[in-house]
């Protein structure tokens, strides 16, 4: 257990925790806007940013933030002008970002190894200063994600309607893009640029199996993301593999393990939605001999239907009427 308490490991765990909190918070908005791949697009662009930092000898985190924000704004500009569909715009940036990064890193000479830390994460090399920058940036992302939740949700949910309530749709769309870019830069030392998007999206997919509301989904995704990030980083320390791989695999395992449970929860929830009461319903008597008495705990789902309860029985809706059951 000593390894978990060493200074570099504590820094790595702290960086992982803030990444696990911030990435799914922003990811929830991206999923809502059907831009799940945006994190990937920004991550690829940030590769060029990191390479620029390595080439010029400045902090790769700083150059990554700047280039990622520029890329995010470009994606938003292309998307909102409607010149290319969102996914074509993203694809263009994927290619440009990776190719640009590769070119610059090759020019820098120290090439692939330096870049690899940023592509797949590297916990051993996180300095105290970088950790503090990550925590500060993640805090900004989290504060804005929560303080502006009603506005960001409304714009992501129905852009046209949000505009008629006087919200600046352009401002909030740009804000989401910038938050995503900052999150990518925060996450690149833990999950790495090529896998950062997974930590934005998978926890949301896990949480929304169980949630009915937007805020609850976001909180659940943040919990799932934090658990995955901390577990993944710890694994990575013991078996000496890049943390990006373990964090994402733990995330996916969480989704896979909860999937059957999610299916059951959703089925049960859907079955419990009260039936609508129609003005003139056709009532027919359940025609098969009904040897079974429906009641609490009889094993058949009870569903509200106006002033009484229907029981779901082999795809029929049975409602008690005197000595028999009616089909509703």
């Amino acid at each position: 257990m000593d390894i978990l308490l060493s200074p570099f490991m504590l820094r790595a765990l702290l960086a992982a925790a803030v990444t696990g909190l911030a990435a799914p918070a922003v990811g929830t908005y991206l999923v809502q806007r059907r831009l799940s791949l945006m994190g990937d697009g920004i991550g690829h662009v940030a590769v060029t940013g990191v390479a620029l930092g390595l080439l010029t000898g400045t902090s790769p985190t700083l150059t990554a933030v700047i280039v990622a924000i520029a890329g995010a704004l470009l994606i938003e500009l292309i998307r909102s002008s409607g010149r290319a569909t969102g996914d074509v715009a993203l694809a263009l940036l994927f290619y440009g970002g990776i190719a640009g990064g590769l070119l610059l890193v090759s020019l820098a000479g120290n090439g692939a190894f330096a870049l690899q830390q940023y592509l797949f994460g590297s916990i051993a090399t996180i300095s105290t200063q970088e950790m503090l920058v990550s925590v500060a940036l993640a805090a900004v992302v989290l504060v804005l994600s929560f303080a502006l939740l009603p506005q960001l949700f409304s714009v992501a949910n129905d852009e046209d309607y949000a505009r008629t309530t006087g919200l600046s749709v352009k401002f909030y769309n740009v804000l989401i893009s910038v938050l995503a870019a900052v999150t990518v830069s925060v996450a690149m030392r833990t999950v790495g640029l090529l896998l950062v998007s997974a930590l934005m999206i998978i926890p949301v997919a896990t949480a929304q199996q169980f949630s009915r509301g937007f805020r609850v989904t976001m909180l659940g995704a943040m919990a799932a993301g934090t658990i995955a990030a901390l577990t993944g980083v710890s694994f990575s320390a013991f078996v000496d593999v890049p943390p990006g791989a373990t964090i994402v695999l733990v995330s996916l395992a969480g989704f896979a393990l909860t999937f059957p449970l999610g299916v059951v929860v959703q089925r049960r929830r859907r079955a419990r939605i009260p039936f609508n009461v129609e003005a003139n319903e056709v009532l027919t008597r359940a025609n098969e001999p009904h040897g079974h008495v429906h009641g609490p705990g009889c094993g058949h789902q009870a569903v509200e239907h106006g002033d009484h309860v229907d029981y779901l029985h082999d795809g029929h809706r049975h409602a008690q009427h005197a000595d028999h059951y009616d089909e509703h």
Binding site: T28, V31, Q32, R33, R34, S36, A147, L148, P150, Q151, F153, S154, A156, N157, D158, D160, Y161, A162, R163, T164, T165, G166, L167, V204, Q208, S211, R212, G213, F214, R215, T217, R269, R270, I273, N276, E278, A279
Partner: protein, 265 residues
């Protein structure tokens, strides 16, 4: 709120020679009309006649390419009195990516009255609850929107707008794809709003349950205003030309002719 001093006499909506072009193509062409406070006006017309394009221009979603369009005496291009305006869009069938509760969606209607970074206050929560009671969905506040029927979802959009407590309501085809019970619930909601003095502009395909409510109709055809006067559906009895007859012939015998504007929007 920056209410002009003459707001009691100024028309709520004023259109002078209004044209709306989408992608360079003129859709609405030279329309003049005024809507006064408390009026209930239906916009009728066939598919592609420009009704939706016009109301979207009224709420600032489509650019006005010609003429002048004002709400509460203020040009729609520079409109700032958002709390007075309530827009109910046509329900989109595409479900959003993340689940949302009915209360969360309806809360969006309060944003015209809320400032960023301020948490919701009691007045906001009360307005959401009242709006849900008005449309008869108070018991569904914590339910996921996508599990509701089409008619109930349309009522959620209605409640969202009511939560903002607007003076002018603009509705775009509130009956499209909505069951009769919900149509009647929406009509009842609107008539209670009329009693409180609200002004209503509603795009309709047919008057249906709204017939008793509409005081005046504007009829568009090919982007021009062709009729402005009392509601035809309510004065000429049951058989106005505002509705479709279901086909009485077997489908195979129907002539396979399509009007050029069928399905065009």
């Amino acid at each position: 709120m920056s209410t002009p001093s003459d707001s009691s006499t100024a028309p709520v909506v004023s259109a002078r020679d209004v044209g709306v072009a989408l992608g360079g193509r003129p859709i609405v062409r030279g329309i003049d009309f005024e809507v006064r406070a408390g009026e209930v006006v239906a916009l009728l017309g066939p598919n592609g006649s420009g009704k939706s394009t016009l109301v979207k221009a009224m709420v600032g979603l489509n650019p006005v390419s010609r003429g002048e369009l004002t709400l509460f005496g203020e040009s729609v291009q520079r409109f700032t009195q958002w709390p007075r305006l309530g827009y109910v869009p046509q329900r989109s069938t595409a479900a959003a990516g993340v689940p949302a509760t009915v209360a969360e969606v309806v809360g969006g209607g309060r944003l015209s009255r809320r400032r960023p970074f301020r948490p919701a206050r009691r007045t906001d929560r009360d307005a959401v609850r009242r709006a849900l009671e008005t449309v008869g969905l108070a018991d569904r506040a914590r339910q996921q929107v996508s599990t509701l029927s089409g008619g109930q979802q349309q009522r959620v959009l209605m409640a969202r707008t009511l939560a903002g407590e607007p003076e002018l309501l603009v509705l775009d085809e509130p009956n499209a794809g909505v069951d009769l019970a919900s149509q009647e619930a929406i009509a009842a909601t609107l008539s209670s709003l009329v009693d409180t003095g609200a002004t209503i502009v509603v795009v309709l395909h047919e008057l249906g349950p709204f017939a008793g409510l509409i005081q005046r109709t504007l009829r568009l055809n090919e982007g021009r205003l062709v009729y402005d006067g009392p509601a035809l559906g309510s004065t000429s009895g049951e058989h106005g030309d505002d509705h479709h007859h279901p086909p009485t012939l077997p489908p195979l015998l129907l002539p396979s002719v399509r009007a050029p504007l069928d399905g065009g929007r």
